[in-house]
Symmetry: C2
Subunit: 199 residues, 2 copies
Amino acid sequence: MARPRSEDKRNAILEAATRLFAERGLTDAPTSEISKQAGIAEGTLFTYFKTKDDLINALYRELKLELADAMMSDFPRKKNVRSKLRHVWDRYLNWGIANPKQRKVLAQLQVSEVLTKESKDAGGAPFVEFQTMIGDAIEQRLFRNDLPAELISRSLATLVEATIDLTVSKPSKADKYRDSGFQMFWAGITKSRSRTSYK
Amino acid sequence: MARPRSEDKRNAILEAATRLFAERGLTDAPTSEISKQAGIAEGTLFTYFKTKDDLINALYRELKLELADAMMSDFPRKKNVRSKLRHVWDRYLNWGIANPKQRKVLAQLQVSEVLTKESKDAGGAPFVEFQTMIGDAIEQRLFRNDLPAELISRSLATLVEATIDLTVSKPSKADKYRDSGFQMFWAGITKSRSRTSYK
DNA sequence: TATATAATTGAGTATTCACTCAGTAATAGA
DNA sequence: TCTATTACTGAGTGAATACTCAATTATATA
């Protein structure tokens, strides 16, 4: 029995924060400005997030969730590993190109000193199905000898990131970059001769 | 005719800054603390660097130079491309493991909003020989079709980074990671069947 | 409709911090 | 040795900003 908080306001705060963090960096985006752009009073921001660090941690989880959703929606569970990886590759790439600010903020967040261990763990949670798939493929010996799962998923991520940057700077070659990036990734992780019948 | 500046003091400032930036992040490392750890008065810091942003930009160039030196010293100009890349791979890896703070600061700097275009350009300059090598190898068609040079150098960098992180978390497997990381990189960039005679 | 509860507001506060500057010390060149 | 020039010092300053709080407003429930 009381006045409820508004999901809309919370989202407006997160969106304004995303915009400002992307433009000015985490520390040069004052809460006063975030509030203003979110269309609320500064005090209100602190009923939704106890501190600015809290806001930052919440935003991190939110963005990781968005990215995971983008990557895993329509995930082709029935197809072979290559198709699955290509699906994830394409979705990640699309998300990054369509959401440059979110992507930039995420990059800043990953190296910032404000993320708690809890947030980092929570940020990884939406990717468990992806991780499991990698683990399964390793057990089936689909990949090059003894490549650790972490190296595979990080390679995917960093190669996508590099490919996005290239695409942004030369949009006309988008499709070419998308394909050669993935080929490079796939050739890197799979055994050298397997030219047919990957599972 | 006057009192000269001291190279030692300048270095002490850069070292203190590196330590503090690594521990607390760029913005939570006050100039007062940097000065104290460098063993000088706060005012002195500003005779060596006009502003804090200047200091940050100078540190970026310094660290890039250190890394390039580490990578390119004893560079085997006479050997084949694979050996050259393996050399760079190993040196980069060694540097990263031996200099965790420098590496962390560099990661923060790359995504920060304070680097000027000039600094970014200057940071790339020490790597021209490496870039040239990649360009030559591309002309000789040693690599997979149409892989852009930028994708190749960024892949090397990000795969080394991933490998360093793995190594730090499981030092006992250092050699294994080092090798499989490089194999993955090499297989990714070269044409699939070329199992012999790479140049 | 009445009311208890919680959200909202925005001016105010306390703190932090990059940078300054007047006084002092060192040194290169004459 | 003398002196012009610059480095060095550290207390002080002004600006920025995360967060508070007393007053006000909205709303879920009875």
